[in-house]
Subunit: 133 residues, 2 copies
Amino acid sequence: MSERLNIDKVDFTKLDGLICAIAQDYRSKEILMVAFMNREALEITVKTGRAVYFSRSRGKLWHKGEESGNYQDVKEILIDCDQDAIVLLVDQIGGAACHTGMNTCFYRRINRSGEFEDTGKIPLFDPAQVYKK
Amino acid sequence: MSERLNIDKVDFTKLDGLICAIAQDYRSKEILMVAFMNREALEITVKTGRAVYFSRSRGKLWHKGEESGNYQDVKEILIDCDQDAIVLLVDQIGGAACHTGMNTCFYRRINRSGEFEDTGKIPLFDPAQVYKK
Protein backbone atom coordinates (compact mmCIF):
# COMPACT_ATOMS: atom_id res chain seq x y z
CA MET A 1 0.00 0.00 0.00
CA SER A 2 2.10 2.92 -1.13
CA GLU A 3 -0.92 5.09 -1.88
CA ARG A 4 -2.44 6.85 1.13
CA LEU A 5 -6.19 6.33 0.96
CA ASN A 6 -9.03 7.82 2.93
CA ILE A 7 -12.79 7.96 3.14
CA ASP A 8 -12.97 9.97 -0.11
CA LYS A 9 -11.97 6.78 -1.93
CA VAL A 10 -15.04 4.84 -0.81
CA ASP A 11 -16.95 3.85 -3.94
CA PHE A 12 -20.63 4.78 -3.73
CA THR A 13 -21.21 4.47 -7.48
CA LYS A 14 -22.12 0.79 -7.72
CA LEU A 15 -25.30 0.92 -5.65
CA ASP A 16 -26.68 4.33 -6.60
CA GLY A 17 -24.97 6.28 -3.84
CA LEU A 18 -24.87 3.48 -1.27
CA ILE A 19 -22.45 0.90 0.04
CA CYS A 20 -23.15 -2.38 1.76
CA ALA A 21 -22.50 -2.30 5.52
CA ILE A 22 -22.32 -5.47 7.59
CA ALA A 23 -22.56 -5.32 11.37
CA GLN A 24 -20.66 -8.04 13.19
CA ASP A 25 -20.48 -8.62 16.94
CA TYR A 26 -16.95 -7.66 17.96
CA ARG A 27 -16.78 -10.38 20.60
CA SER A 28 -18.59 -13.42 19.18
CA LYS A 29 -17.93 -12.48 15.54
CA GLU A 30 -21.54 -13.36 14.74
CA ILE A 31 -22.97 -11.40 11.82
CA LEU A 32 -25.86 -9.34 13.15
CA MET A 33 -27.33 -7.58 10.12
CA VAL A 34 -26.58 -6.07 6.75
CA ALA A 35 -27.77 -2.64 5.71
CA PHE A 36 -26.69 0.28 3.53
CA MET A 37 -24.92 3.59 4.04
CA ASN A 38 -24.73 6.70 1.96
CA ARG A 39 -21.74 8.98 2.30
CA GLU A 40 -23.28 11.02 5.10
CA ALA A 41 -24.13 7.91 7.13
CA LEU A 42 -20.57 6.64 6.79
CA GLU A 43 -19.09 9.99 7.76
CA ILE A 44 -21.24 10.23 10.88
CA THR A 45 -20.46 6.63 11.80
CA VAL A 46 -16.70 7.17 11.41
CA LYS A 47 -16.81 10.44 13.35
CA THR A 48 -19.11 9.46 16.21
CA GLY A 49 -18.37 5.74 16.61
CA ARG A 50 -22.08 4.93 16.55
CA ALA A 51 -23.67 3.14 13.58
CA VAL A 52 -25.84 5.22 11.26
CA TYR A 53 -27.29 3.63 8.13
CA PHE A 54 -29.38 4.84 5.23
CA SER A 55 -32.88 3.39 5.17
CA ARG A 56 -33.89 2.62 1.59
CA SER A 57 -37.54 2.13 2.52
CA ARG A 58 -37.76 5.43 4.40
CA GLY A 59 -35.31 7.29 2.15
CA LYS A 60 -33.38 8.86 5.02
CA LEU A 61 -30.67 8.37 7.61
CA TRP A 62 -31.39 5.65 10.12
CA HIS A 63 -29.73 6.13 13.48
CA LYS A 64 -29.74 2.48 14.52
CA GLY A 65 -31.31 2.23 17.97
CA GLU A 66 -33.18 5.53 17.79
CA GLU A 67 -36.47 3.77 18.53
CA SER A 68 -35.39 0.62 20.34
CA GLY A 69 -32.48 2.05 22.31
CA ASN A 70 -30.38 -0.76 20.85
CA TYR A 71 -27.52 1.37 19.55
CA GLN A 72 -24.38 -0.07 18.01
CA ASP A 73 -21.09 1.19 19.40
CA VAL A 74 -18.52 0.77 16.67
CA LYS A 75 -15.21 -0.75 17.71
CA GLU A 76 -13.63 -1.01 14.26
CA ILE A 77 -14.55 -0.34 10.63
CA LEU A 78 -13.06 -2.58 7.95
CA ILE A 79 -13.22 -1.80 4.22
CA ASP A 80 -12.92 -4.22 1.35
CA CYS A 81 -10.51 -4.46 -1.57
CA ASP A 82 -12.59 -2.46 -4.03
CA GLN A 83 -13.85 -0.01 -1.45
CA ASP A 84 -17.57 -0.58 -1.91
CA ALA A 85 -18.42 -2.50 1.27
CA ILE A 86 -17.60 -2.21 4.95
CA VAL A 87 -17.75 -4.33 8.07
CA LEU A 88 -18.57 -2.70 11.40
CA LEU A 89 -17.32 -4.57 14.44
CA VAL A 90 -19.86 -3.46 17.02
CA ASP A 91 -20.92 -3.71 20.61
CA GLN A 92 -24.66 -4.25 20.18
CA ILE A 93 -26.33 -2.42 23.07
CA GLY A 94 -29.23 -4.45 24.46
CA GLY A 95 -27.86 -7.57 22.78
CA ALA A 96 -30.35 -7.61 19.92
CA ALA A 97 -29.81 -6.13 16.47
CA CYS A 98 -33.00 -7.37 14.80
CA HIS A 99 -36.43 -5.77 14.93
CA THR A 100 -37.84 -9.23 15.71
CA GLY A 101 -36.02 -9.21 19.05
CA MET A 102 -33.47 -11.77 17.90
CA ASN A 103 -29.81 -11.01 18.54
CA THR A 104 -29.15 -11.29 14.80
CA CYS A 105 -31.29 -10.85 11.70
CA PHE A 106 -29.82 -14.15 10.46
CA TYR A 107 -31.79 -16.47 12.75
CA ARG A 108 -32.85 -18.97 10.05
CA ARG A 109 -30.99 -21.21 7.68
CA ILE A 110 -31.81 -22.45 4.19
CA ASN A 111 -31.37 -26.18 4.07
CA ARG A 112 -30.28 -28.32 1.13
CA SER A 113 -33.92 -28.72 0.05
CA GLY A 114 -34.32 -24.95 -0.14
CA GLU A 115 -36.51 -24.79 2.97
CA PHE A 116 -36.11 -22.30 5.79
CA GLU A 117 -35.33 -23.72 9.21
CA ASP A 118 -35.05 -22.05 12.60
CA THR A 119 -31.58 -22.14 14.12
CA GLY A 120 -33.01 -22.33 17.62
CA LYS A 121 -32.59 -18.71 18.69
CA ILE A 122 -35.10 -17.03 20.97
CA PRO A 123 -36.06 -13.33 21.02
CA LEU A 124 -34.34 -11.11 23.59
CA PHE A 125 -37.16 -8.59 23.61
CA ASP A 126 -40.82 -8.30 22.64
CA PRO A 127 -41.08 -6.11 19.52
CA ALA A 128 -44.61 -5.00 20.51
CA GLN A 129 -43.18 -3.47 23.69
CA VAL A 130 -40.18 -1.85 22.02
CA TYR A 131 -41.74 -0.38 18.87
CA LYS A 132 -44.87 1.28 20.13
CA LYS A 133 -46.03 3.02 17.01
CA MET B 1 -42.56 -19.57 12.70
CA SER B 2 -45.89 -21.17 11.84
CA GLU B 3 -45.49 -20.40 8.13
CA ARG B 4 -43.34 -22.84 6.18
CA LEU B 5 -41.01 -20.80 4.05
CA ASN B 6 -38.65 -21.76 1.30
CA ILE B 7 -36.31 -20.37 -1.31
CA ASP B 8 -39.24 -18.96 -3.30
CA LYS B 9 -39.67 -16.40 -0.52
CA VAL B 10 -36.23 -14.85 -1.03
CA ASP B 11 -36.76 -11.21 -1.97
CA PHE B 12 -34.80 -10.26 -5.09
CA THR B 13 -36.81 -7.09 -5.74
CA LYS B 14 -34.83 -4.58 -3.67
CA LEU B 15 -31.59 -4.81 -5.62
CA ASP B 16 -32.86 -5.29 -9.16
CA GLY B 17 -32.91 -9.07 -9.09
CA LEU B 18 -30.04 -9.54 -6.66
CA ILE B 19 -29.49 -10.20 -2.99
CA CYS B 20 -26.49 -9.44 -0.84
CA ALA B 21 -24.39 -12.51 0.01
CA ILE B 22 -21.74 -12.45 2.73
CA ALA B 23 -19.12 -15.18 2.92
CA GLN B 24 -17.88 -15.91 6.43
CA ASP B 25 -15.22 -18.42 7.44
CA TYR B 26 -17.09 -21.21 9.24
CA ARG B 27 -14.24 -21.78 11.68
CA SER B 28 -12.79 -18.35 12.53
CA LYS B 29 -16.04 -16.47 11.81
CA GLU B 30 -13.99 -13.87 9.93
CA ILE B 31 -15.95 -12.14 7.17
CA LEU B 32 -14.22 -12.95 3.89
CA MET B 33 -16.12 -11.01 1.22
CA VAL B 34 -19.47 -9.65 0.20
CA ALA B 35 -20.95 -10.18 -3.24
CA PHE B 36 -24.31 -10.58 -4.93
CA MET B 37 -26.48 -13.45 -6.10
CA ASN B 38 -29.37 -13.65 -8.50
CA ARG B 39 -31.92 -16.39 -8.14
CA GLU B 40 -30.00 -18.83 -10.31
CA ALA B 41 -26.78 -18.32 -8.34
CA LEU B 42 -28.61 -18.95 -5.06
CA GLU B 43 -30.30 -22.07 -6.41
CA ILE B 44 -27.01 -23.54 -7.63
CA THR B 45 -25.31 -22.67 -4.35
CA VAL B 46 -28.07 -24.32 -2.28
CA LYS B 47 -28.10 -27.37 -4.50
CA THR B 48 -24.39 -27.96 -4.95
CA GLY B 49 -22.97 -26.61 -1.68
CA ARG B 50 -20.41 -24.56 -3.59
CA ALA B 51 -20.66 -20.74 -3.72
CA VAL B 52 -21.79 -19.19 -6.99
CA TYR B 53 -22.34 -15.45 -7.19
CA PHE B 54 -23.55 -13.05 -9.85
CA SER B 55 -20.85 -10.72 -11.13
CA ARG B 56 -22.33 -7.27 -11.69
CA SER B 57 -19.29 -6.11 -13.64
CA ARG B 58 -19.33 -9.13 -15.98
CA GLY B 59 -23.12 -9.50 -15.98
CA LYS B 60 -23.02 -13.26 -15.49
CA LEU B 61 -22.71 -16.07 -12.99
CA TRP B 62 -19.43 -16.18 -11.14
CA HIS B 63 -18.38 -19.60 -9.97
CA LYS B 64 -16.10 -18.45 -7.17
CA GLY B 65 -12.72 -20.15 -7.60
CA GLU B 66 -13.16 -20.96 -11.29
CA GLU B 67 -9.92 -19.11 -12.11
CA SER B 68 -7.99 -19.26 -8.87
CA GLY B 69 -9.05 -22.72 -7.70
CA ASN B 70 -10.07 -21.12 -4.43
CA TYR B 71 -13.58 -22.51 -4.24
CA GLN B 72 -15.86 -22.00 -1.28
CA ASP B 73 -17.47 -25.10 0.20
CA VAL B 74 -20.67 -23.98 1.87
CA LYS B 75 -21.31 -25.41 5.33
CA GLU B 76 -24.46 -23.43 6.13
CA ILE B 77 -26.63 -20.74 4.55
CA LEU B 78 -28.35 -18.24 6.85
CA ILE B 79 -31.08 -15.86 5.71
CA ASP B 80 -32.13 -12.62 7.32
CA CYS B 81 -35.44 -11.40 8.73
CA ASP B 82 -36.70 -9.73 5.55
CA GLN B 83 -35.28 -12.39 3.23
CA ASP B 84 -33.08 -10.13 1.13
CA ALA B 85 -29.61 -11.06 2.37
CA ILE B 86 -27.76 -14.27 3.17
CA VAL B 87 -24.66 -15.39 5.00
CA LEU B 88 -22.64 -18.30 3.69
CA LEU B 89 -20.55 -20.09 6.28
CA VAL B 90 -17.78 -21.45 4.11
CA ASP B 91 -14.63 -23.49 4.05
CA GLN B 92 -12.43 -21.26 1.87
CA ILE B 93 -10.30 -23.60 -0.21
CA GLY B 94 -6.73 -22.31 -0.48
CA GLY B 95 -7.32 -20.05 2.49
CA ALA B 96 -7.69 -16.85 0.48
CA ALA B 97 -10.99 -15.33 -0.68
CA CYS B 98 -9.64 -12.08 -2.12
CA HIS B 99 -8.19 -11.53 -5.58
CA THR B 100 -5.31 -9.66 -3.89
CA GLY B 101 -4.18 -12.92 -2.26
CA MET B 102 -5.38 -11.83 1.19
CA ASN B 103 -7.49 -14.31 3.17
CA THR B 104 -10.26 -11.70 3.33
CA CYS B 105 -11.26 -8.73 1.18
CA PHE B 106 -11.53 -6.73 4.42
CA TYR B 107 -7.80 -6.31 5.08
CA ARG B 108 -7.87 -2.59 5.86
CA ARG B 109 -9.62 -0.48 8.44
CA ILE B 110 -10.92 3.09 8.35
CA ASN B 111 -9.64 4.94 11.40
CA ARG B 112 -11.36 7.74 13.29
CA SER B 113 -9.70 10.32 11.03
CA GLY B 114 -11.22 8.64 7.98
CA GLU B 115 -7.88 7.26 6.78
CA PHE B 116 -7.33 3.71 5.57
CA GLU B 117 -4.88 1.61 7.59
CA ASP B 118 -3.53 -1.87 6.98
CA THR B 119 -4.54 -4.44 9.56
CA GLY B 120 -1.26 -6.27 9.18
CA LYS B 121 -2.36 -9.12 6.95
CA ILE B 122 -0.06 -10.60 4.33
CA PRO B 123 -1.04 -12.17 0.99
CA LEU B 124 -1.31 -15.97 0.85
CA PHE B 125 -0.71 -16.08 -2.91
CA ASP B 126 0.71 -13.91 -5.67
CA PRO B 127 -2.15 -12.68 -7.85
CA ALA B 128 0.14 -12.45 -10.87
CA GLN B 129 0.76 -16.20 -10.65
CA VAL B 130 -2.88 -17.13 -10.05
CA TYR B 131 -4.66 -14.90 -12.55
CA LYS B 132 -2.69 -15.32 -15.70
CA LYS B 133 -4.79 -13.35 -18.13
